[in-house]
């Protein structure tokens, strides 16, 4: 079926089977492999992207369901010249990543979290990150990164 999306600001047209998941459309049809698949039960959050500004687990939604939507993936977060988004920079500064596999979904969730909860406290941030699993970092530096990214986004 025909699907129209705006992905990272660019209009794209896809002709995909109706059972195509959004994450498949991004990874396989558009080659945007920064969005990862870590589970099959919508638990891990590695596939998180923004759909019309909301964090969504792209393994749990059909491409057809978001027809016409604006999608933001990790590949579109940095500036055109490659300068990282304040949240990406905060993750680097705070060592909020190790193997990197959960990182892209974690960063997208963190951006959504800070957009919607610009004054979230550390315990609130921990709770709001519940939908994203990281097996490497023990979360402490992720939480520090979100606190730093939140401040940077507020002042940007």
């Amino acid at each position: 079926m025909q699907i129209h999306l705006k992905v990272n600001g660019k209009s794209v047209h896809l002709d995909v089977p109706p059972n195509t998941l959004l994450v498949q459309a991004l990874r396989e049809n558009l080659g945007l492999t920064g969005t990862h698949v870590g589970c099959d039960t919508a638990q891990c959050g590695a596939c998180t992207v923004l759909v019309n500004g909301d964090a969504v687990k792209s393994c749990n939604v059909l491409a057809a369901q978001v027809n016409g939507a604006s999608i933001a993936t990790i590949e579109g977060l940095a500036e055109a010249d490659g300068t990282m988004h304040p949240m990406q920079a905060a993750f680097k500064e705070c060592h909020g990543l190790q193997c990197g596999f959960c990182t892209t979904g974690m960063v997208m969730s963190a951006v959504d979290l800070c957009n919607k909860h610009p004054k979230a406290t550390e315990p609130e941030i921990r709770e709001l990150l519940e939908g994203n699993i990281c097996r490497c970092t023990g979360y402490q530096n992720i939480v520090r990164a979100v606190v730093m990214g939140q401040a940077a986004m507020a002042s940007a």
Binding site: G34, H36, Q43, T73, F101, E130
Partner: protein, 789 residues
């Protein structure tokens, strides 16, 4: 260069931000599933839905007729064409007979032995087509009774003809008669039964692989999510497929976490490599998470009885331990070493216990193979010993700290009664620092505050030790290892003075691209930006044994140091020529070569250029170029150690247990990048607390079905399960490697489970709960409270 000089170099001990982060943060990392080959086909594995069954027949007719199907391989296709998966460590019984080592077929031969066992590989043009065809494969199973608990194995239906009583081996260490005699006259004996719960590793990137073959060059290429590509290649070529190694290239690109589960050679990797030649197509397979749950090697699963003999003052006289270890249905790559060499040898802990006797029985059950998982044997040893030591303290009316302090080893080197010789450490310093960090003095006040809120509070200690820097090859070989355990490093200095490092270590989150660059940059007096680290490709790296057992910096880093020594020696000769000085008079520091007592100097960059543009060069004495390779085989293990203190708060009405405070003091020797080391401790501690509070792999004891087969059923640690941890370090540099490092990757997972459970038991003491097995989930804690009433 030695450890003392090394630790004083510029940038050693600085938290440089990671070089690898930009690609991971911008979605430009390249994990195996991100790679697409030309003419790529897709594989799906048909897996056994039964824990134990005879295979009466497989009907492929309908499946082969499905759209897009290229081929379906079963056990019959591979039988006689390849060996089974090898076990890399031979354990002998006390009478000298070898362990039972039944075949581990690549695809099931006549029988399946656990839910998830591989029966067939379906290859199709698309993933959906392969999935659909896999569902159409008809397998006729004759279901047999299954056993999942290690303690039930002896009386269960045999899995393998080679092991009629399901017994793999008995193994013992120590002098039983002497230990028994000491127990007979001890003033006090403390006894403890414990279960080390089975865990599922759950690296966030599921296992994945792509097999390819070129008829033009007769070369195989395997992309695979793996921690040790050279070991993978060695095992696959030498033991399974009988291929020459130079015709097989194994590439482990960006790998999304391993924790041990990606050390091993798996059947899927072999099928894809072999199948690629049969079909002359690239074949890709990526595990779904539910497949990872079923088929990744699991961890732990020990049932133990431990006894400590003490004098009246709580001084340990002898330790006696029996452990039943679950091997699962087949022997995975290093399974047999985990409950023996990596476990029993750590049972002295930080204590002067003069006599130890350990006996281990390993059993086959109808469960996924069990193998090394973060810590591998050492968490099991630490959990047993540190639970026992705290129990000893309580039975004697001593503090958890006091009994430990009375028994700490204080002089080094120290020869334990269980084979290892600790080179250095300061256990009192770790304990003292941890007690300050944890504000132990304020515990009673916090306990009173909790009580006022209607909550229970407990404090738990754990003083762990681990043997890392695996391993001196000669010792490992004498103990049954079928591989060497050295590491290889190559330093390639380019004409313009930048450097590429090729290391046999593999980074799957540990940050080697930064830490190793820091080592090289510090030694050569150049910037970290001028150093790139290459790893994970048998086609680019000369050789390697890979990353596990917290060995990368202490063994892989030491190999790099040796190669740097060679670079420095040659570079000095070139510099001496340029400065018309004697080699012996040339000194090198901060990237500059100088001549003693003169103001002559040349830079490292000038020397590098001269090595490749040798117009003015001692060609009669020296080859051009500046490129050196070194292999390093350690002379001993390294012994990271530390004390962890945990405080929990428990709601007795619900059993809900919350870790309120966690303090960790570790001695990792020299620390090159504190930021990265802290990150390793954070991650390890969360996996350890995960084991203690949340995680538990459960098989149904009747059917052998995996009941915790998804992230909906298996409790993974999440951000809101934890407080902010407090960390500190003590530094006694390792005495036998050139960096003074000990390794930090596993400590957190080793030290934390007993600290948590000792805290839980401390909190529940007043309710008369004296024993408890992990995990301390609300239901289990509540049940323990009710049972004690």
């Amino acid at each position: 260069m030695g450890a003392s000089d090394f630790s004083k170099l510029p940038h050693i001990g600085e938290s440089l931000r990671r070089k690898e982060d930009y690609r991971f943060l911008t979605g430009a990392g390249q994990y195996t599933d991100d790679i697409t080959m030309a003419k790529q086909s897709y594989a799906v594995f048909v897996r056994s839905p039964h824990a134990h069954a005879n295979l009466k027949g497989i009907d492929l007719a309908a499946a082969k007729a499905m759209p897009g199907v290229i081929e379906i391989f079963t056990g019959k296709d591979v039988e006689g064409k390849m060996g089974g998966l090898p076990c890399g460590w031979l354990i002998n019984n006390p009478d000298g007979t070898p362990m039972k080592e039944p075949p581990h077929p690549i695809l099931a031969q006549g029988k399946v032995r656990y839910v998830g066992d591989h029966v067939a590989m379906v290859v199709a043009e698309t993933l959906d087509q392969a999935k659909n065809a896999a569902e159409a494969v008809v397998v006729d199973y004759d279901v047999l009774s299954a056993v999942v608990r290690v303690t039930d194995a002896a009386k269960a239906t045999a899995l393998h003809d080679a092991a009629p009583d399901n017994h793999c081996y008995k193994w013992a260490l120590g002098d039983k008669a002497q230990v028994d005699a000491t127990f007979a006259k001890a003033a006090h004996i403390t006894k403890l039964d414990l279960v080390n719960n089975r865990l599922i590793p759950n690296a966030l990137e599921p296992r994945a692989a792509i097999g390819s073959y070129s008829r033009a060059t007769e070369e195989y290429t395997l992309y695979v999510a793996n921690q040790n590509p050279h070991v993978e290649r060695l095992l696959m070529t030498a033991f399974v497929l009988g291929l020459p190694e130079h015709k097989v290239r194994v590439i482990a690109p960006d790998v999304g976490g391993g924790f041990g589960s990606k050390i091993f050679l798996y059947a899927e990797d072999v099928c894809l490599t072999w199948g690629a030649k049969q079909l002359n197509r690239s074949i890709k397979w990526t595990a779904e998470r539910s497949e990872s749950f079923l088929s990744d090697a699991h961890g732990r699963d020990h049932v133990s009885h431990a006894e400590m003999a003490m004098d009246k003052d709580g001084k340990f006289l002898a330790l006696r331990v029996h452990t039943d270890a679950n091997m699962g249905a087949y022997l995975s790559t290093f399974a047999t070493a985990v409950p023996t060499i990596l476990y029993a040898t750590l049972l002295a802990g930080q204590y002067t216990t003069p006599q130890i006797y350990v006996e281990v029985d390993a059993w086959f059950t109808n469960t996924a193979p069990v193998d090394a998982y973060r810590g591998a044997g050492r968490p099991e040893a630490t959990y047993l010993l540190e639970r026992l030591v705290t129990r000893c303290a309580w039975e004697l009316g001593l503090g958890q700290d006091e009994i430990r302090k009375r028994n700490f080893i204080t002089t080094f080197p120290y020869q334990t009664p269980v084979a290892l010789q600790y080179d250095v450490g300061d256990y009192h310093a770790c304990m003292n620092k941890a007690q300050v960090l944890a504000d132990v003095a304020g515990f009673e006040a916090r306990k009173a505050d909790s009580k006022a809120k209607g909550l229970l509070r407990g404090i738990g200690y754990s003083s762990y030790i681990e043997a890392c820097g695996i391993a001196p090859s000669n010792i490992a070989g004498a103990l049954g290892a079928r591989a060497g355990l050295f590491e290889c490093g190559e330093i390639r200095v380019h004409p313009t003075g930048s450097v590429t490092v090729f290391t046999g270590s593999h980074s799957h989150g540990q940050g080697h691209e930064t830490t190793f660059a820091q080592v090289v940059a510090a030694r050569l007096g150049i910037t970290c930006e001028a150093v790139d680290v290459v790893h994970g490709d048998t086609g680019r790296v000369p050789f390697g044994m890979g990353t596990y057992g917290s060995r990368s910096i202490s063994v892989g880093g030491a190999a790099i140091m040796k190669a740097l020594d060679k670079i420095e020696t040659k570079a000095k000769k070139i510099a001496a020529h340029l400065m018309e000085a004697s080699d012996a008079d040339v000194e090198f520091a901060n990237g500059e070569f100088t001549v003693k007592g003169t103001d002559k100097k040349v830079t490292f960059g000038q020397v590098a250029l001269t090595a490749y543009v040798p117009h003015n060069y001692p060609l009669d004495k020296l080859e051009p170029g500046l490129n050196e390779t070194a292999f390093y085989d350690p002379t001993n293990f390294t012994f990271p150690a530390g004390t962890y203190i945990c405080e929990v708060e428990i709601d007795a009405a619900t059993g809900f247990t919350r870790v309120d405070r966690f303090s960790a003091v570790d001695d990792f020797g020299t620390i090159i990048n504190p930021m990265i080391v802290e990150g390793q401790v954070h991650g390890g501690v969360v996996q350890g607390i995960g084991q203690a509070l949340l995680e538990n792999c459960v098989y149904d004891p009747e059917s052998g079905q995996l009941l915790t087969g998804s992230l909906m059923d298996y409790a993974m640690p999440r951000a809101d399960d934890f407080p902010h941890f407090k960390l500190d370090t003590v530094c006694t540099p390792c005495t036998h490697n050139p960096l003074g490092t000990k390794g930090c990757g596993e400590a957190g997972a080793i030290g934390s489970p007993p600290a948590v459970i000792n805290a839980v038991l401390d909190a529940l003491k007043d309710l008369k709960v004296i024993d408890f097995d992990m995990p301390a989930s609300p239901a289990r804690v509540w049940e323990a409270i009710q049972a004690a009433k």
